[in-house]
């Protein structure tokens, strides 16, 4: 019962309350801001699976986001595919790329993995920038169709908000099931002590690859949404600084915490909107918020441990009602 209440409150907030408020404050622009926040929420939640839960610091997530965006852009402009095909296919393509590119780096740990992913992200960025025949290079791809379903709804800021919000809910559901479960315990064990996890019978490399694949899938879907909702993409959207932005969102929200990832996206993209009157200090705000949260809130605003406790209790995922310890799945 508690679970049904919690879930319906969440759905009502995302699908009714937020769009309602956005319409009241003037629609258009604020819908676009919320769409961006939604895309970054998906990105941060997905990166959080690798970095927060499995403990592999990824500095190249923007690269995978870019693969998804370009896959969608090319599929929809060259072949005219509709969004319900481009999004899952882009996700799958990105996941395949992710596995292929990350397979050799899976043995690396700590900062070596971080730097290897930085390298992968930059390889993707340089390729997008220079493979002009395929990606049109720095000019980018324009006139990407929006999210439309002929006869049902047409592309608009509101439609895009709903497309992103519903995808984000699906991503939260899937990633939540992965992390708020015994499978999530296995991933966290890899983060805490990979050798020890192996000695307890966990296939550490397998778990790393699986979490990378799921994370890349959703990064790809987020890229696809970005392409559809903005209509224009260029390699500049998928630079290292975007990876850092994603990382900062995770750190601020709390590594390993799914609601934290969303909160991080809301803060780091929302705050600059309110600071806009005093000038565009977006990245300075990002840097400063990140710095102070590492210093004063090393576990983030919504740290993993309390979030897991709440999720077990509130969403009815715990096995034993008295102790709220195990997982129901």
């Amino acid at each position: 019962m508690r679970r049904i209440i919690s879930v319906s409150l969440l759905l009502a907030a995302v699908l009714i309350v937020v769009p309602g408020i956005l319409t009241l404050v003037g629609g258009g622009y604020w819908f676009r801001v919320m769409t961006t926040i939604g895309v970054f929420s998906i990105l941060t939640m997905s990166a959080n699976l690798i970095t927060g839960t499995t403990g592999l610091m990824s500095l190249g997530h923007a690269g995978f986001y870019g693969i998804g965006a370009y896959a969608t852009a090319l599929l929809s402009t060259k072949f005219g595919w509709p969004f319900y095909l481009t999004l899952p296919v882009s996700g799958a393509i990105t996941a395949a790329f992710g596995i292929l590119l990350a397979l050799p780096t899976m043995r690396l740990i700590g900062i070596y993995f971080a730097v290897a992913t930085l390298g992968l992200g930059e390889i993707i960025h340089v390729t997008l920038l220079n493979w002009v025949d395929f990606t049109r290079g720095p000019m980018g791809i324009s006139a990407i169709p929006g999210v439309t379903l002929p006869g049902v709804f047409t592309a608009s800021d509101t439609t895009h908000y709903y497309a992103v919000a519903i995808t984000a809910l699906i991503a939260a559901f899937v990633l939540g099931r992965l992390t708020h479960s015994y499978y999530g315990n296995a991933l966290r064990a890899v983060r805490e002590d990979d050798q020890c996890a192996a000695s307890m019978g966990l296939n550490v490399v397998g778990l790393k690859i699986q979490s990378f694949a799921f994370a890349c899938f959703f990064a790809g879907v987020a890229g696809g949404l970005w392409a559809h909702t903005t209509g224009y993409i260029s390699p500049g959207d998928f630079r290292f600084s975007e990876s850092i932005l994603i990382l900062a969102m995770m750190v601020v929200g709390g590594l390993g915490s799914l609601p934290g990832a969303v909160l991080g996206a809301v803060i780091l993209l929302g705050l600059p909107e309110f600071l806009r009157p005093i000038g565009d200090y977006r990245m300075i705000v990002v840097g400063a918020v990140m710095f102070f949260s590492i210093l004063f809130l090393p576990r983030g605003l919504l740290g993993e441990t309390p979030v897991l406790t709440v999720v077990r209790r509130q969403f009815g995922l715990a096995w034993d009602a008295k102790s709220n310890l195990g997982w129901r799945q």
Binding site: V115, I123, I244, M283, V286, F291
Partner: protein, 304 residues
């Protein structure tokens, strides 16, 4: 047998490689002493460049004064960086936490945050475009030797790099502070027990590393005529690649790998479009990490 053009490219690559080497040494020193990655090192490079440029535009001093100013700016920036992004995380003194995974990741993130802030502030002040550099200071005067043509900047890079590398060797091997740096790199607790001031040594390491980086930034800025706030990122990553290839804590290895990297890039750009040159470093990085996880020269490295 040897194409002139090819030799020319090799020389160009060598001079860029030397710059990467100067930057890589800063990384290597800091990694050696603290086992942390200093993500703001590229910003030190940028600061050196801008300090020099500001000196040039305000009172146009002779080149060696400009270099001294960049040097001072680098030292100051290194000191500030250590206090701001690294010192607050060394709350505990035992060896386990001095080189622990948690500190490593926290300082990686904090230096990243500081680097973003510094770069963005520079962009707010100077704009993100390339700065104009007075013609007299550009190190691009052609010098013809036989059928090869060089820029005077290349000679300056060669000369200055050799002086600095030599100076660094002298500093590390012959002076007291160099001895402390090597001792702390080896065993921070042991060094503290025999009465070495670890804090001061760590600061000295940052100052020395940052000085090298700042000077590298200045010369490259003047040689390539490109000084802009984001200039530190690419050389920073490449120097980092050189450090990883060289085995992380070996200065010699880092220098050799930086030279290899510089030349490989120069050769690549002579066959492909300029943009693809950047790919070389990243490919080198990924390949090294996969096939030579202890660096090309197989230095002993703990599993981190």
């Amino acid at each position: 047998m040897f194409d002139i053009f090819f030799v020319q490219q090799l020389v160009n690559g060598l001079s860029i490689g030397l710059i990467y080497a100067l930057v890589a040494i800063g990384f290597t020193l800091i990694f050696g002493v603290l086992n942390v990655v200093n993500f703001a090192h590229g910003e030190i490079y940028m600061i050196g460049s801008f300090a020099g440029l500001m000196a040039i535009t305000t009172f146009a001093p002779p080149l060696f004064v400009v270099i001294l100013i960049a040097l001072a700016a680098g030292a100051l920036a290194g000191f500030g960086l250590e206090r701001l992004a690294f010192r607050p995380f060394r709350r505990f003194r035992d060896e386990a936490s001095l080189k622990s995974k948690a500190i490593r990741e926290a300082t990686l993130l904090s230096s990243l945050a500081v680097s973003i802030i510094v770069r963005e502030i520079a962009e707010k002040i100077f704009g993100s475009n390339m700065q104009s550099i007075p013609q007299d200071y550009l190190l691009l005067k052609p010098i013809q030797i036989g059928s090869l043509s060089f820029a005077d900047g290349q000679f300056l890079i060669f000369g200055l790099s050799i002086v600095m590398l030599g100076g660094l060797q002298w500093l590390l091997k012959r002076t007291r502070i160099g001895l402390s740096i090597r001792a702390v790199a080896n065993n921070p607790m042991g060094a503290a027990y025999v009465g070495i001031n670890t804090e001061r040594t760590i600061i000295a390491t940052f100052v020395i590393g940052s000085t090298l980086g700042a000077i590298a930034g200045l010369i490259v800025g003047l040689y390539q005529g490109a000084i802009f706030p984001a200039m530190g990122f690419v050389p920073g990553v490449k120097a980092f690649v050189a450090m990883v290839m060289g085995g992380l804590s070996s200065i010699g290895g880092a220098v050799v790998c930086a030279l290899i990297l510089g030349m490989a890039e120069a050769i690549t750009t002579s066959f492909f479009a300029q943009g693809w040159g950047d790919l070389v470093a990243y490919l080198f990085l990924v390949i090294t990490l996969i096939f030579f996880p202890t660096g090309l020269f197989g230095g002993g490295r703990e599993r981190v």
